[in-house]
Symmetry: C2
Subunit: 419 residues, 2 copies
């Protein structure tokens, strides 16, 4: 990974870059008429330029060799762009409806050119804060997760293909290590970057650091995160990595992708929906008490898992005579056994999902990176109340996850936390 | 992996090879006086030459691009020699007392030159059949397993080193796939290569193929085998991969090595000791009823796990402030929590061990490759009785492994099976 040819782009050099890159320039019909370039990266990590002309549009994402929001003092490999481009292409291969097309990738420059998700696409998290219902969200996200996870697991892969892909994504170690630190470690110790709604949650944050059972459970999840190459996971599938309209759901930003436990993705998505739920009371006003919207979030949580379950097992049934090596047809193709194996598999996956989802919730309340769902609640005391409910629920979920048999029980528990 | 420079060695070309290879020739004091070469490979896979002169000795092991015992009709990458040499060096790095030194490795020729384990070293399995006690066996094998598994796990590794090593050993996919097939698949279906003591065990073999619960459990183990990169495992740690004298224990043949679940190694060793136990009744005679010897085997099983437990947790305690990323000191260095985490870790590891051990036992009775412990029992009916006891025990162990809290309970169950 030489960086000899690397230089950070700005508005001006970007134009030169586009002109010199047929795969991009052709998207603008090879002319610069009415060209507009806007830097829109609001994430923590990268620079993102929206490029629009009268003839066409695309997005340019460039990774720099450090974390954007922190600066050169927190170096991070720009090769994350390679893994993002590779993951995007692999995910789009299996789920073209919900993954934007990559037009161009330049490893040396760490530049990805991809489809511009035009308005009214917005970041799902912002939609959730605004109280907008997305009737197809559960349908689409369950589709994305079922397909990308199934087709990169040993239910579909043969061992040779699987190990090759696992080995390749082992190269994304720096981002995995970062995730490992901020999700499974920092919240459970005194850490320079941790913060929370102080002083309201001081005691709550301390309680997390002193909770032996919680730390015991989180260690098990961390081991699974580091050791288990179950499928190509997105690696950062929160509601900020999804862009939506009422009709369209597009999953972006898989630079944290690697072969890991499926529950890490599903848990990230569901955990962030649960955070959105607990944040709603901070966004109510006289016009909208958000009660209906909270019901919609709960329904979406329930549907996302149930649709996922249905789609995932349907893919399994459809491909049970394929090249997947986990369950050979000669052994497992008897109806009773197939039912048994799927039940066990999905039950284990639900427990992994709840564990990872809970860990993701906790880290967003007492760790380094918080969520706008809570941050946008201006009144600190009100915010702290919402966060505390979410934290209490997440701690219970992490410890008691194996007791839940179905997602409806989880939804009931969420409601109970708030009643 | 070009094979352009590859040629199979014979007695004659081997001499030329030695003369041209300083690392080997120097072991013979650079002269061929009194040179003796003997092909001794009795395993299934490779050619093994013992080279002895009046000045020194070594062993030459060459992998051919197929399975030796079957021939060119079952191709298998000769690059297994690379993984064997790499694993040997890594294991010796952590446990020099119990791993022979590698003098020379030639990847193109798939040739390893290593220490000749001189008489009275014999293969442990042959010693067990002969009824020889090895008072230091549990001590030594627990040392080998504790050190090689601990130092290649995330208890000692940092994530960067771990993922690099995992990725490298992903290249040994062909041998992993072979293991996956013969251990977790073939015994549970009709397979060309399966055989058993027929007709005595016909019904027993059929029962294995029809046992849904057994197949459900073995699928979970197969997933763990394929997906969980917990440590560098030997990958084939049966009693035929260990050479012993009363004072020395040397572990050889790690060509199946990869980053996998620790229990796969520990289970292989213990499972093969249990097979040896159940085979003893086939080897009794009027001089020796083997009762004392059977007690020694049980004691060795018990001690191997208990010593392993002690050594492994001692290493963990010793290195708890090191670079291992699984349990960061700032989070886990409180005495109560450390006790809790270790208890959970070792309990889970015991259950994995029993599961893998049981699967290894089953495959040696109704799968392709059997063990000399049983095969050397000439009377088929007597042999079948021994095998059936082992099989019944293994099936119970695979299904009920999570109920065992300590190795003493396993030993009691073995005795109960035979009473």
């Amino acid at each position: 990974m030489t960086s000899s040819g690397f230089r950070p782009l700005d508005d001006k050099s970007l134009v030169e870059y586009i002109k010199a890159t047929p795969a991009l320039f052709s998207k603008l019909a090879n002319q610069l008429h009415g060209l507009q370039i806007k830097e829109v990266g609001d994430g923590n990590l990268n620079f993102v330029y929206v490029v629009i002309s009268s003839a066409g549009s695309f997005v340019i994402k460039q990774a720099l060799p450090y974390i954007r929001s922190i600066g050169e003092s927190w170096p991070m490999t720009k090769d994350r762009a390679y893994f993002e481009a590779t993951a995007l292409r692999e995910q789009r291969r299996w789920c073209s409806n919900h993954v934007p097309e990559v037009y161009h990738f330049d490893r040396e420059m760490a530049v990805i050119g991809m489809r511009y998700l035009e308005p009214p696409h917005i970041i799902l998290r912002k939609g959730l804060i605004a109280g907008i219902e997305y009737p197809l969200l559960a349908e689409h996200m369950s589709e994305f997760m079922a397909r990308t996870l199934f087709f990169t697991s040993l239910l579909y892969h043969d061992t040779t293909e699987h190990k090759r892909a696992v080995a390749e994504f082992c190269g994304n170690v720096e981002l995995c290590r970062h995730t490992g630190q901020v999700v499974f470690s920092d919240p459970y110790k005194v850490s320079q970057y941790n913060w929370w709604t102080s002083p309201y949650l001081d005691r709550d944050a301390e309680a997390v650091r002193e909770d032996n059972i919680l730390k015991l459970e989180v260690a098990e999840l961390k081991s699974m995160f580091c050791e288990r190459s179950q499928a190509l996971v997105h690696g950062d599938l929160h509601t900020g990595s999804v862009m939506v309209t009422p009709d369209s759901t597009q999953v972006i930003d898989p630079e944290f992708g690697f072969y890991g436990p499926m529950g890490f993705d599903i848990g990230a998505f569901l955990g962030n929906l649960i955070l959105a739920y607990f944040a709603q009371d901070g966004h109510d006003d006289q016009v909208n008490d958000r009660k209906t919207y909270k019901k919609w979030i709960l329904k979406t949580i329930e549907q996302t898992w149930n649709f996922f379950h249905k789609k995932f097992t349907a893919l399994w049934n459809e491909h049970r005579n394929g090249s997947g090596e986990a369950y050979l047809p000669e052994i497992y193709n008897n109806p009773e056994l197939q039912l048994l194996t799927q039940k066990k598999y999905m039950q284990d996956l639900l427990h992994d999902t709840l564990g990872f989802g809970a860990a993701k919730m906790i880290r967003r309340i007492v760790g380094v990176a918080h969520v706008e769902d809570f941050e946008s609640i201006v009144d600190a005391s009100k915010r702290a109340n919402c966060e505390r409910q979410a934290l209490v629920f997440a701690k219970m979920l992490l410890k008691e996850r194996r007791k839940f048999q179905a997602i409806t029980e989880v939804v009931s528990a969420i409601q109970q936390e708030q009643s």
